[in-house]
Every structure is written in C-alpha cells, then in structure tokens.
C-alpha cells in the first residue's frame, strides 16, 4: 500500500512539487513547534487569548469590509483594484475633520449616535465618489487592454490618490475623538472586552448581511452575478454592463468608507494619507484567503486574517523564541498570503483562479 503510493508519487515526480511539498511540511512543523512551545510554557492566560481574539475579530471585520470591495470588483472585471486601499483612506481621512469639529463643538457628547451616523454618511459618500472617479478615469478606458495595463494604472492611481490627499489635507497624523458613549468593557469568557470592538464586529456583520441579500435577492444583484459569469451573454439579456460595473465600484467604495469609520472608532490614531495602503494589502490577502470573487469568502477571510494576525505572532513566533514578535505582525500577514497561495490558491470558498483565469 505504502509502496504503491510512493511509486505513484515517484512516477509523477517533479522538482517543483517536491520543493513545494518540502516547503509545506516545513511550514507545518514550524507552526506546530511554535504552538506547542507556547502552550506548554503557558505564556498567556486564557483570558488574554480571548482579548487577543476579540481585538483580532474587530480588526478582521475592517479587513472584511475592505475585502468585499476587492472581491466584488474582481468577480466582475477580473482585475485587482489595487487602489482600493486609497478609497478606504479617502473616506476615513475626510471624515476625521468632521469628527474633530463635532467633538470640539460638543455635538459629539450631546448626541453621539447622530454624530457617528454623520461621519459614516460623509465617509461613505467620499469613498464612493473616489471609487467611481477611479473607475471612470482609470479603468473604463482600459477595459479591453492587456491584463497588466489596468494593474499598472491601478498602482499609479494608488500613488496619485495618496499624494493628492497628502497635498490637500497635509502630512500631519490626525486622530478620531474618543466617543464617551462607547467606552467601557464587557466581560466575555472571563476577559474584559471593549464594547466598541463588539459594536464594530456587530455593525460589520449587519452590513455584510445587507450586502449578501442585495447580491442574492435583488434584481440588480442578480444582474451583477450574471455579469460576473459572462459579460457578453449578460449584455444579450439586456443588462447594462456599465451600470452594473459602476454599481459594483459604488458598493465597494461605500463599504470601504464605512470600514474607515469603524476603524476610527476602535483605533482612533494614525489617520493620514498612507493609512490605506497596508489595510488594503491585508484586505486583499483576506479576499484571497476566502477565495477571491466570493462575497461570503471575503468576509470570513477577513475575520480569519484579523484573528490570525492578532493571535499567531504570540502563539507561534514567541514559541519559537523570537524576540519582539509584534514587530513582525505585518510580515506575518504577508507570509500568510504566500502560504495560502502555496497550499490552496483558490482560497477557502473559491474556485481555482490564481492559476487558471489570472
């Protein structure tokens, strides 16, 4: 039995698969070793792990909302909207001024709910506007160009947007005001979890459910799914492709805008022109993790990536005796991307896109 499978393996032997296998096994060994050490040494209490997981979930729901934008656009145009992180930045960076103004004038303290709603409205509006502008200026004229061309445009657009906002709003780091009504903690599984994290997770889930029903149940949503299957046939069925593409970009932009505000709620610092770049990359990782082009996958991928990022550096890297593991958090996110693409390029829910269509 063993011999036969070994024979079959040798028959199909190629160095690439061999090395990839070695790489896979090494990755597994490293992970298991790290986890084992951390658990045996009992570096953290279970309450600390719960805290980390909730922080990860909150961060992950931000990734998830941004990742939905990537996945929607990818599903329809088969292109990576590299500048989507900047769409997220645009909303968050603009609304920070409104937020601070309201905090100074006392409006935030008087009616926090209305205030946050107004930030959401502004951020969503700006992000949607930027997303539509991007589509019109940078992507629409190139719809039939070779694949690399729109990707390069997207990289250009990403930098152009960053530095436009830098020019407009200045280089200073801004921060959102803390909302008094959202302070405080709740006890979950014996650990104190900030209320604001729970609210962010909940709000993201609500938005996700709304989006899901929009895509699955409404007429426009059906048209979107149809376009993602086949442009030409959809056009024959009387669907206005341009309108659908515009809707897609608008949806992605709106979700990214909302994500910017949620991010500001639970992590107020660090609002500046470059704030969108890394969340954008992470969200792309999340979309790939869930299977790009898949709405459900993007959401779950986002949450998963958030948790992985917040738990794994402590769980694995510290177990391996690496000092200051949190410095490596970002590197860890990207390593995850590489590992996913090696293990399962199609992601959790996706079809095999990374190799076939892409």
């Amino acid at each position: 039995m063993l011999k036969r499978s070994l024979d079959r393996y040798l028959e199909r032997f190629s160095w690439v698969t061999f090395f990839l296998d070695v790489f896979r096994i090494a990755a597994i060994i490293i992970i298991v070793l790290g986890v084992y050490n951390t658990v045996i040494e009992a570096r953290y209490t279970s309450a600390q792990w719960v805290t980390l997981i909730f922080a990860g979930l909150a961060q992950g729901s931000i990734y998830a909302l941004i990742a939905l934008g990537y996945t929607l656009v990818y599903g329809i145009l088969l292109m990576i909207n590299f500048a989507h992180g900047e769409v997220y930045m645009a909303g968050a960076f603009t609304a920070v001024f409104l937020a601070n103004y309201q905090a100074n004038s006392g409006f935030l303290a008087r009616s926090p709910f209305l205030a946050i709603l107004s930030w959401l409205a502004l951020a969503t509006l700006v992000s949607t506007g930027i997303a539509l502008l991007l589509e019109r200026v940078a992507y629409r004229p190139l719809r039939n160009a070779p694949r690399l061309v729109p990707l390069i445009t997207a990289i250009g657009a990403s930098f152009a947007l960053q530095y436009t906002f830098r020019g407009m709003y200045g280089t200073e780091f801004r921060s959102y005001p803390t909302v008094p009504a959202l302070q405080g903690t709740v006890s979950v599984f014996g650990s104190q979890v900030p209320i604001v994290q729970l609210i962010v997770i909940f709000a993201a889930i609500v938005l996700m459910v709304i989006l899901y029903f929009y895509v699955e149940r409404t007429k426009r949503g059906t048209a979107m799914r149809s376009v993602s299957e086949d442009h030409d046939v959809s056009r024959l069925m009387g669907i206005d492709i341009n309108k659908i593409i515009v809707t897609t970009f608008a949806l992605g932009g709106a979700l990214a805008g909302a994500a910017g505000i949620f991010n500001g709620l639970f992590r107020p610092q660090g609002v500046f022109f470059f704030m969108g770049f890394f969340p954008g990359l992470k969200a792309f990782t999340a979309a790939v993790l869930g299977g790009i082009g898949n709405v459900r996958g993007a959401f779950i991928g986002g949450l998963l990536l958030g948790v992985i990022e917040s738990v794994f550096p402590n769980l694995i890297l510290e177990g391996l005796g690496i000092p200051a593991a949190n410095q490596l958090r970002d590197a860890f996110g990207f390593t995850m991307l590489v590992i996913i693409l090696i293990f399962r390029p199609q992601g959790i829910f996706g079809e095999r896109l990374a190799e076939k269509k892409a």
């Binding site: 160095w15 690439v16 090395f19 990839l20 790489f23 292109m79 990576i80 603009t94 001024f97 601070n100 103004y101 100074n104 004038s105 200026v137 940078a138 190139l142 160009a145 070779p146 694949r147 690399l148 061309v149 729109p150 990707l151 390069i152 445009t153 990289i155 250009g156 657009a157 990403s158 930098f159 152009a160 947007l161 960053q162 530095y163 436009t164 830098r166 020019g167 407009m168 709003y169 200045g170 990359l281 792309f284 990782t285 790939v288 690496i322 000092p323 200051a324 410095q327 490596l328 970002d330 590197a331 990207f334 390593t335 991307l337 590489v338 693409l341 390029p345 990374a354 190799e355 892409a358």
Partner: protein
Amino acid sequence: MDEKRTPTWQIILRSGLLGGVIATYMCVIGIVETFSERLLIGSFFSLGEVMLVFGMVITGVLAARELKGKKNYVSLGGSLLSGLITSLPLIILIIITLLFVLRPAVQGAAFNLRDMFVNLSPELVEILTFGQGLFPGIPLLILFSALMAALGATFVLPSRRWRMGLISGIAWTLVIGIFSDTVQQIFGRDIASFLFLNKALTPQAAVIVFVIAFVVGFFSVHTRVQSRWQTIPPSQQSRARVILLLVALGFLLVIPWVIGLFLSQALFMVVLFVVIGLGLNIVVGYAGLLDLGYVAFFAFGAYTMGILTTTGALGRGGLNFWTAIPFCILLGVVWGLILGFPVLRLRGDYLAIVTLGFGEIIRILALSDWLAPFEGGAQGVLHIPYPSFFGFTMNSPQSMYYVVVAGAFLAAFVTIRLRESRLGRQWMAMREDEDVAEAMGINLVQTKLMAFAIGASFGALAGGVWAARLGNIFPHSFNLLISILALAVIIIGGMGSIPGVIIGAFVLVGLPELLREFTEYRLLMYGILLIVMMLVRPEGLLPEATRRRELHAGEEENIEPVPQTPIGSDR
C-alpha cells in the same frame, strides 16, 4: 468619429470645466502655492503660475482640437469662451477661501476650512488675484484665463511651422528657466549671470531665448534623422555606428568632470536606476512576470556589501568592494531563486501582490530586533568603506559614477546577449502565453527561475554599488517606493527596450534630482504619469517594436507607428 456631433456649446463647456477642475486641483493640493516661490522669469512669473496656466492651456487645446473642423475664428472664439469658463471653478475657490478661511480667521470662529484643506491660504488668493485685491483681481483672472486658453488653441490651430515655433519657444524658455541651476553649473557663471537674476530668467533674456527657439522651431531645423540615416549606404552605416558609439562613450567618460559635483551625484542615481531598471526589465519586460518587490534584491545587494565590507561592529569577512561585489551578485541570484520558487505557479495579479508582500517582509525583517544582531536592525549598517582602485579612494560622486557606468554596461551587455538567445526567446514566448509556451516544450519552471535569478542579480549589483557610495545603509531606505520607481522607469521608457530604460531613468530619476522643488510632489507625478501613460501610450516612450504592435493590435490593422498620439484622440 461619433455619428451624432456634439453641439459646440457643449464642447466649450466641457473643456472649460475640465481645465478649470485641473487648475483648481493644482491650487488645492498646494502645487501652485509651493512653486510660486520659484521664480522663472523676472520677478512676476513663477513655476506656480506655470502649473496654474497648465489647466487653462489644456482647456484651449481640448476645445480647439474638438472644434478643429470648424472655421478658424469659431474654434479660436470657442477656446476663448471655454477659457472664461475655466476661471469659474477658480473664482468659486477664491470665494470659498474668503468665506470659510479668511473671515473665520479674522473673527476667530471655531470652524475654519483651512484645518482641513491646508492650502487654502491668503497667499493662494493673492496669487489667483495677481495681488490686485478682489476687484481688479477677479476680472483679471477671467481675462488671463481666456487668453491662456487662446494660447492653448494656437498650439493646435495654425500651420505646422507656427505651431512648432511656438511650442519650441515656450518649451525652451520654461526649460531654461526651470533648470537655471543646471545651466549655471554646466556653462559657468558668466553666461549664467547674463541670463539669470536670482535663479530666474531676466525678462530680456527670456525674450531672447524665446525668439531664438521660436526661429529654430519655425524653420524646422530638426530634419528627419531617421530618413537621413536610411539614405546612407549600409557599408557606411556600420562605420557611422561605430563612430557614433565611440563619441557616445567618450561623452560618457568626460561628462562628470564637465557638470560638477552635484550633477554627478544626480547622474550617479540615474545610472544606478538604469541598472535596476535593466534588471526589472528582464523580469517584467521580457518574462512578463510583474514583480512589485524588486526592492528586496536591491536590499540584499546593499546588505551583502555592507556586512562583508564594513569596518564597524557588524562586519564579517572584511572584504573590499571589488571582492564583495561578486558575492552581492551571487547572493542576488540565490535569493532570486529562493523567492522565485514559491511563486512559480502564480500568474499576473497574484504574482504582483505576492512579490509586493515579499518586498515588505524583507523590509520588516530588516527592521526587526530579531535579526538585529546580524544586520543592525533599525540602526542599519554603518561605516562601509569606499572602494579603492589601485590606491585611489573613490570617495567622490564622479569616481563612483564610473563604477556604476561599468555596472550598467555589464547589465546592458548581458541583457542584449540574453534577448537574442534561446533563453530570451523562451521568456518572450512565456510572456505572450504560458500555456502555448509550455506546449511548445519550454520548461516554464527553469525559464521563470532564470528570469528571477538574473533580474535579481542586477538589482543586487545596484544595491552593492549604492551601499558603497553611501557608506551607511538603513532599512528604511528599502521601501516600496524603490520598487514602484523601478517599475515606473521601465514602463514610462518602454517595456523590454534598453534605450527606453535609459530614457525612463533620466525622466523619472534625473529630473526630480535636478528639480529639488518637486520632491514633495514627485510621487504624485509618478502616479499620474503611470495612469496617463497607460491611457495614452501604453507601450512607453521608446518601445520595442513587437510590444508596440501587440498593444495596438486591432486598433489599426496596417501598422504605421503613430508618433505621440495626443490625449483623447482615440475617442
């Protein structure tokens, strides 16, 4: 091309508003105000005004181009009108600034729009109203804008000779004004003091320059080099080529001593990016693998050089520059293979993002405390000695320039030889279609790995030279920008073509080195350039012949290379 013709008023309105939005954008992001310090002509015309005028001229060009079929006075009048419209967004901007910035500042109100838009300043209003206050200022702005749009229209309308004359006159005046420092360094103080006063052209000098350039452009002294070349018989052609090459070589050798210290440093950076660009060109241009993490190889080269040669605490090996360079290249190859391996099966967009991730991983690892005992962490590697050549220490930009030029020659030689080789043709086949290439018996694994390895070795070579020039390296230098810049260099220049890489490096690295004023907006310009380039001329400035054909396939069946397709002409 459209069946139904757009009505004239719509064209006027559209181009006017577009130009107005561009001009307003320039104001809001602060270019106009920042550059208004930099005078070009006399004491009244600054680089900031050039930026402002740019939008207005665009208005005129657009309007006149779309109205070209009409009578001359219609299109000229049309662009004048659209110039009037262009000033509208600017006037709104002035009013907004007055209401929400200047008034609250006087009254001390809580809401001040300048907290948000940092560039809406009193100075900006002053520039827009020519310092004349609101009343004569705003009508002046309207008039000025209309006149500038008319100027833009003249670029399109009159006969070719007038057009060439005008364009060359204006372009040369601006160029000499902008590069006054450079002109001074090259031609010496005497000519400079005749032309310039405080870096700006004196008005008389501006007129002289304009007239000369106009006359030259008008009588079209530039003949068609290409057709002239073809009339030379082939036997003489090859001899002429050798002579040209020798002249170019001699020029390359003497130039750093002519242009002085500062420009040599700029030139060093340009040639360094030629090497980097040539390396990336192999990966992206030939093999079609979009690598956004190229900075990783540059960093490997720099760190190898640093650790092997430094006299500081981190030093291992204690080699000198010349013995360490082969190790840099070798390590580049090894790392190219290592990083190339996991991404072998990925294509297109995925590859781009993963390689970008690699670049960031490398930077973060270099910064971390974990590896700090080996490569210095955030402190970087210090005290890297200058190379010495037969007892002569190369501590000036001029001498390092020769090292990097040697590197560029090596890179160019390898590139040229590879392009015509079996491997080069395999790369191009793979770039066109991986599946077909594989079916033709090309070993994709080997071909891809070779591309990564060779491309990486150029990057590492550049990194090593760079480390030796700088003397200290810090992980912060190895950020994504270098990857993006390298990519922009080969895309602007023309993917897959060596002259393209050189032109790209001059435009994207050389010009910003000369224009220190631009540093703030450098990346903005790269971004916009990338977009515009992809929209207008995706094949780059000096493309490879095949690439151009490929990108314009279907657009035109009988391919005549289109010189400088202007904006928006394909619609």
